[in-house]
């Protein structure tokens, strides 16, 4: 019986000792990340049966367990993944948010200053200082665009670095988890059912840290290991084996990197959409959904400014009396060949309509028969027909195959405005090159006796299209139509290669057009050439060769008396291209006469007398003419972008608004997510966290238990002594 007391007391002392050391372990690890508090599991020993009943045998320590809630831990993981995603995205967004709308450093005030200087030139077109100011302010605006773009590029490069280091961290965590998996597996096997709590805590911590980088899902295995999956179920860790992710240049876009999954030595690209959550997800989403659209939007504003000012400057006359040239550099769209293309081909893209441009990137595809264009921001597909020999229009730019042939499945990435803000530049330093004047002026004949007056001549360069009749009907004819008003401007007999002239431009169509084949013509934004693009339905083999605009061809109008038997007076136009002087035009006196020749339109109103002349002639010495500068100045308020719905400032404002709204949204959601995290962490910690007061109490409790058990042993000893005394 005595031995029984001894063993029982000893077991109590042992249990108390273990309790104290567990409490101390908890206290020591109170601030260890990922630590889960532990408790000893006590159980009464099986009682000894005796005549008097079952006699207690003391206490057994069944094990040390983690106070761990699987559900809460998983929830914390999920919330933390989302939180790190939002906070990384928010931090990245803040970088661009701050630079865009600064009242001093943003592009908006620079553009305003530029237009102020354009107005200055319009007010005093012959003042060289005013012109110098315009060039200076243009340079200032260009520098702003460039520096914002450079900043965005720097941020992009930084993001690439962060993606790389994030992927490295993911790989390293995966490796560590795999190693721990092995340790745990062996410890579980050796522990005969006892779990290696601290190893489990370490592994849980690693999984949690992994989740901060990338969203994963984990699956516990019966042998104590866990399997970790990323993306669309790609395994990162299976048992003791870790897979890895690789950063590589994107196959579709050499300007950026993408995350690949390394499987059996082969790289499988992971889509950004499958990598949601965590820092890595945030970096990819920021780059693809915020940074690049922002650069494109900035580029669109820069391109709109450069192309519109250029276009107008080229239609004007500079201070030296020459036709204006391009003032600003207009970047061509960036075209990247798909890395997996099998055909040997090259594709060029040209901007031909600033208003039509979007801020999206595009993918040109070929399915073996048809070409199509995929707009990447909304996945809208435009069918481009079966031939790209002549340029075909899509959303403000035209694409054509410049060499070779595409094979089925080949793609090209086309980014119309991506480089525009980077490449905008001033092409002249000569203030005289600003074309403030128009190349032509109207003059009323000095000897006119009538009271008619001619309005100031205006340019008429609206886009036009040429359509062809059936080639089997000889002669084949062409019809020229104003694309804006849909009015027929003229027609003629077609012969291959012969120049077709209208409204100041001349083009040559070579080859045999089929019935209904059509070409649309717009003025190039960068030069005085005409850009021709073929209709998507063209079947003939005709192409448009060359094309130039000559806006300095004078013409004059002379009024004739009524020549019986005609009842209406006529006027004769000389100098028009093509020549119409042989066919006088009759008019009704009292009705204004609208003229449109050689690219110029004017109106004669009032009563002309027979013999009166009106001339549209070269604007020689027109240094005080500001008509063209006025048009340029008016571009500040014109809706030049987004199909005529946004001005340059509006386009920029839209960018600022989008970035601001996204940042603001992220600030709010990130804050909300933080409080979600702190709530779930609190719940999880309320179960698994160490409370020092509780541990202090545990210390006291086990101390008392130890003292009591020791006392019991002492009592047993005393009792045994008493027994021995009896025998003496």
């Amino acid at each position: 019986m005595g031995t029984n007391i001894y063993t029982s007391a000893l077991s109590g002392m042992n249990a108390a000792l273990l309790g104290v050391s567990t409490a101390e372990h908890n206290i020591a690890n109170a601030s260890t990340p990922g630590f889960t508090r532990q408790e000893i599991i006590l159980g009464a020993r099986t009682a000894q049966s005796s005549g008097a009943g079952f006699i207690g045998q003391g206490v057994d320590v069944a094990g040390v367990k983690r106070i761990y809630d699987e559900f809460l831990t998983t929830q914390v993981l999920q919330e933390k993944t989302q939180a790190s995603y939002l906070s990384s995205y928010h931090m990245a967004m803040q970088q661009i948010d701050n630079i865009l709308a600064d009242p001093v450093a943003g592009a908006a005030p620079a553009m305003q200053d530029f237009f102020k200087a354009v107005n200055g030139v319009a007010n005093t077109p012959d003042s060289v200082p005013a012109r110098q100011t315009m060039l200076g302010n243009a340079q200032f605006a260009i520098n702003r665009f460039k520096s914002i773009d450079q900043r965005l590029t720097d941020i992009g490069n930084g993001i690439t670095g962060q993606i790389t280091s994030s992927v490295n961290i993911v790989n390293s965590y995966a490796q560590q988890i795999a190693t721990l998996n092995g340790n745990i597996k062996r410890a579980v096997a050796a522990g005969q059912g006892q779990l290696p709590n601290d190893l489990l805590d370490q592994r849980d911590l690693l999984v949690s840290q992994l989740n901060s980088e990338i969203k994963t899902s984990a699956q516990a295995q019966p042998d104590g290991t866990i399997s970790v999956f990323v993306g669309n179920g790609q395994a990162m860790v299976i048992g003791e084996q870790a897979m890895s992710l690789r950063v590589a240049q994107a196959a579709t876009d050499p300007s950026k990197v993408e995350v690949n999954y390394l499987n059996d030595g082969k790289l499988i690209a992971l889509q950004q959409s499958s990598l949601q959550g965590g820092n890595l997800g945030a970096y990819l989403a920021f780059r693809d959904q915020s940074l690049e659209p922002a650069r494109n939007a900035l580029g669109r504003v820069a391109l709109g400014l450069a192309a519109s000012i250029n276009q107008q400057n080229q239609l004007g006359q500079d201070l030296n009396g020459a036709m204006g040239a391009a003032l600003l550099n207009v970047a061509a769209p960036r075209v990247d060949k798909g890395a997996n293309n099998t055909g040997i081909s090259s594709v060029v893209a040209t901007i031909n309509n600033v208003a039509g441009l979007t801020t999206s990137d595009y993918q040109l595809r070929f399915d073996g028969t048809n070409y199509s264009m995929l707009r990447l921001n909304d996945n809208a597909v435009t069918n481009l027909g079966t031939s790209l020999t002549s340029p075909v229009n899509v959303d403000g730019f035209a694409v054509s195959l410049s060499a070779g042939a595409m094979q089925a499945g080949d793609t090209y990435l086309i980014r119309p405005t991506a480089n525009a803000a980077r490449d905008i530049a001033l092409l002249t330093t000569d203030p005289a090159k600003i074309a403030a004047a128009m190349p032509m002026r109207t003059m009323t004949g000095a000897a006119n006796t009538g009271t008619a007056v001619m309005s100031s001549a205006t340019l008429n360069t609206s886009p036009m299209s040429i359509a062809f009749s059936d080639p089997l009907l000889v002669p084949q004819t062409y019809t020229v139509t104003d694309s804006t008003t849909n009015t027929v401007l003229g027609s003629g007999n077609f012969s291959t290669g012969a120049p077709i002239s209208f409204n100041g431009w001349t083009v040559n169509v070579v080859g045999t057009p089929s019935t209904g084949d059509a070409f649309s013509l717009v003025k190039d934004v960068a030069s005085n050439a005409m850009l021709a693009s073929a209709a998507k339905t063209n079947v003939g083999g005709a192409v448009v060769l060359g094309g130039k605009l000559n806006l300095q061809q004078p013409f004059s109008v002379t009024f004739n008396a009524i020549a019986p038997p005609a009842t209406l007076p006529t006027y004769t136009v000389t100098g028009a291209v093509p020549d119409v002087s042989a066919t006088p035009v009759s008019y009704t006196p009292g009705t204004p006469i609208n003229l449109s020749y050689n690219g110029w339109s004017a109106q004669i109103s009032g009563t002309p007398a027979s013999g009166d002349t009106f001339n549209v002639s070269k604007n020689i010495n027109g240094s005080g003419d500001n008509r063209n500068a006025l048009i340029m100045a008016a571009m500040q308020t014109q809706n030049l972008l987004a199909n005529g719905t946004a001005s340059l400032q509006g386009g920029y404002g839209q960018l600022v608004g989008e970035i601001g709204a996204k940042t603001s949204e992220l600030a709010v959601t990130s804050l909300a997510q933080d409080s979600m995290v702190s709530q779930t962490v609190q719940s999880q910690q309320s179960v698994s966290g160490v409370n020092l007061d509780e541990e202090a109490a545990n210390l006291l409790r086990y101390q008392r238990a130890y003292q009591a058990a020791a006392k019991a042993m002492q009592i047993a000893n005393t009792m045994f002594d008493a027994l021995l005394t009896i025998g003496r």
Partner: protein, 491 residues
């Protein structure tokens, strides 16, 4: 609920971090005076304030454009004011030159003075804007618009009018073409000009007339001609001489022209009883006018001695209007009886004819042509410089006509300049109105902008104090709470 010790620290620290972030935000707002530090603070207001500051910048620009337009317009107005008073002075001088009491040298003195004024006028027409650009040369602002080439002032500019954008929808002309101001001044009544032929011998004076019906105007030139004297060669005359024109006051007298040899002639009044010799043994030169008693004959060819021509008055004192283009008489205007002072109307035009026109006198009615102010002035100077011999009716009529023409054209010039000035005045008025509305718009925009992006100091400072207090409370309570530990009581 069980609270882990870490939670106490973590949640307090994160709460204090948030408090601090808010405090810094408010402090930054106070320090910069801006409510929106980055677009994310208020994306809607940030975009809106970009728009507003854009509008404000444009509004300011319109104001600056208006000032530039005002500068040019006021300069033009000042120059044209001087032109007006100059023209008025010239008019006064022209009227005084028409005074019959002054003599040739007086007129020359006036002409000398007028020449000075002409140079002054050219100077005014070449006014620059102070930066060397000519105000009245159209688009060719660096080309001197008015150049006097051997007495004729030509316009070297063009019809261009420089417009300035003074409001969103208004382009205001800030210059006027010199051609419109100085060159395009129609003579006559502005639609047609009447003139008596220089060879007229009668005293008929044609009025300036006016338009009665613009729809009927043809723009053609017309000649109003009085019936000529009747001439008849003797039968038979041996020589080849003939009378090509015969004009003269309507005599009731018949004359005979008798060649006494191939080179001499006599003129006899055969109505008188007895016949009266008017001219005797005058030398004959083919083509030289033979004038006597207000009659002018033009005889050409070689007469033989004894050749006779009879000159008789016309049947009646009538006139015919012929269209020069068609060469046909105007309908209803053939052989019309002449009544002095009666209005003559045809094809939308009406004018009067007074005095005593002679047989064969002609008057032209032609569409008005442009006569520049300079030409009017230099013509007047030319007229005044031409001496008038005492008693020479033709010369004094030419003087009167010249001065009348000059006065008429001067009035038209003055009207033209005044109408341009009134247009300048209206533009200046419009600029004033635009400036006022632009300024009040600017104030409004700035107010809106301030409301959108500027910090409300009352609110910001009160927020700052509140946030400061909250942070302090959090800090104090944190220290208190973390100071509590059971371990303090152990041992």
């Amino acid at each position: 609920m069980r609270i882990s010790s870490n939670t106490i620290f973590d949640s307090n620290v994160s709460a204090m971090t948030q408090q601090q972030a808010r405090l810094i935000q408010t402090q930054q707002q106070v320090a910069t005076g801006r409510r929106i530090l980055s677009p994310a603070d208020d994306p809607v207001a940030a975009t809106r304030s970009l728009e507003i500051s854009h509008s404000d910048s444009i509004n300011t620009q319109y104001g600056a454009n208006g000032l530039a337009a005002r500068h040019n317009t006021s300069l033009a107005e000042t120059a044209l004011q001087s032109v007006t008073s100059l023209l008025q002075d010239v008019k006064v001088a022209a009227i005084s030159a028409g005074n019959g009491a002054i003599n040739n040298s007086d007129r020359r003195t006036i002409a000398t003075g007028l020449n000075e004024r002409l140079q002054e006028l050219i100077g005014l027409a070449n006014t620059t804007d102070g930066a060397g650009s000519y105000l009245f040369s159209g688009f060719q602002s660096s080309t001197q618009p008015f150049v006097n080439v051997s007495g004729i002032t030509l316009y070297a500019g063009d019809d261009g009018q420089r417009a300035m954008q003074v409001s969103a929808s208004r382009q205001l002309a800030s210059t006027d073409s010199g051609a419109d101001i100085f060159m395009r001044i129609k003579n006559g009544n502005g639609t047609f000009a009447t003139q008596s032929a220089s060879a007229n011998v009668g005293t008929g004076v044609i009025g300036m007339g006016g338009v009665t019906d613009t729809a009927l105007l043809t723009g053609d030139s017309y000649t109003l001609a009085f019936a000529t004297l009747l001439t008849q060669a003797g039968t038979p005359n041996a020589g080849t001489a003939s009378i090509s024109t015969a004009t003269g006051s309507n005599p009731a007298t018949h004359y005979t022209l008798t060649f006494t040899s191939a080179t001499t002639f006599d003129v006899t009044d055969v109505s008188a009883v007895p016949a009266l010799t008017v001219l005797a043994a005058q030398p004959y030169n083919s083509g030289a006018p033979i004038t006597f008693n207000g009659i002018s004959l033009n005889v050409q060819g070689t007469p033989a001695s004894g050749d006779v021509f009879n000159i008789a008055p016309p049947i009646d004192n009538s006139y015919t209007v012929t269209n020069n283009r068609t060469g046909l008489p105007v309908a209803g205007m053939m052989a019309q009886p002449y009544v002095s002072g009666q209005q003559i109307s045809f094809e939308g035009m009406q004018f009067d004819l007074q005095g005593g026109p002679a047989a064969g006198d002609q008057f032209s009615i032609s569409p008005s042509v442009n006569v520049s102010i300079f030409k009017t002035l230099s013509d007047l100077i030319g007229t005044l410089n031409t001496p008038v011999a005492a008693g020479n009716v033709a010369q004094s009529t030419a003087l009167t006509k010249g001065i009348d023409n000059a006065l008429n054209n001067m009035d038209r010039s003055l009207n033209n300049v005044l109408s341009i000035r009134s247009s300048l005045g209206l533009r200046l008025q419009e600029l004033d109105a635009l400036q006022a509305s632009g300024e009040s718009m600017g104030v409004q925009l700035k107010q809106t902008l301030s409301q959108l992006q500027d910090v409300d100091y009352n609110k910001a400072l009160s927020d700052l104090t509140q946030q400061q207090m909250t942070l302090q409370a959090a800090q104090k309570s944190f220290v208190k709470v973390t100071g509590l530990s059971l371990f303090d009581y152990l041992g």
